[in-house]
Symmetry: C2
Subunit: 193 residues, 2 copies
Amino acid sequence: MPAASETTTKDRILDVAQQLVQARGFSGFSYADIAAKVGIRKASIHHHFATKGVLGAELMARYRTDFGRALQSIEKSGGGSRSKLRKYGRLFVDVLRDGHRMCLCGMLAADFDALPKSVRTEVSGFFDDNETWLTRVLETGRAEGDLSFTGPVEVQAQVILAALEGAMLVARSYRNVKLFEAVAQRVLAGVGA
Amino acid sequence: MPAASETTTKDRILDVAQQLVQARGFSGFSYADIAAKVGIRKASIHHHFATKGVLGAELMARYRTDFGRALQSIEKSGGGSRSKLRKYGRLFVDVLRDGHRMCLCGMLAADFDALPKSVRTEVSGFFDDNETWLTRVLETGRAEGDLSFTGPVEVQAQVILAALEGAMLVARSYRNVKLFEAVAQRVLAGVGA
DNA sequence: GTCTATAAGATGATAGAC
DNA sequence: GTCTATCATCTTATAGAC
């Protein structure tokens, strides 16, 4: 098990592939693109990821793991439910700020019909993870009086997730991070955060 | 000028191309795909649309026109601001219901970095159209006491647009129209509709 | 306006040497 | 683990006959 700071070729491939997917979609990049940016040959990428489907699935799996860790970190950071939701929102802005990229999962959700089945599973799984986490935070927040909203918690969670993904989509086409921030702030204000 | 019911080859190409983009993204389909579905040869498509960029731009231009007409129709249909917003939401559900397609513009917004400039312009233009229309409805609705919400009207308009686009994205990956409907209803309820 | 034929390059993927 | 070489296929696009 390599140290966290160590960067293997496999990781560098995933890093480059992820940026390409987030910018151009699953059908919008090729092994040649990755090879050029990493500084290796196409065949070497196939050594690490036999097919594009495998690459996509491992990409999403890593993203889910990383995102899960980020959510855990928010959990442990203390602070109330409002603070947690605001930190959750920051997870999305950070991606948008760094090169106007789309959320990896949001991008692959758009490409859903063009994805291998193994990648599709990871995409729905990511959304599940987010809805589960948001539902828990919203539930706790309401119980403790920190948050207030009407209707089922699950729907509120879906509203927040959908609004953030959609705001990334729209803001990206304007290259306007402020638009995202305004939408995120307004949506979170809607539950009292 | 052909009658509305008449279907030219050019229109049939656009129809098929639109469905393909909405399902697989701009990089996820080819002239060969269109040719097979329309029942003509690739060269014939190039006769009508010299390049894929031209096809994309004309596709979005038609979509904007059609959508604009739909918004005008809502305008003329009478009813209050609440009713108008609900009809606006129905525009999106209908697309999702018909083959779990993504909004053409939302899909192209995801593909933004892979688009020719002429298509990009149309994408931002579509979002402009929507925000302008929503802003007007929200403003009128608030003035007449039909709707109520806090903060700038433009931000509310962006929230609604973002939430609907994002809800399509998420719902599509679950093949779950009800998820979209729940989110749409909740978001519109947030402004009193 | 549609066709056949063809081009030039990209694409995902494999075989086998080092 | 990375490379060269190669493959079959697909991609966008053009030329020119009908």
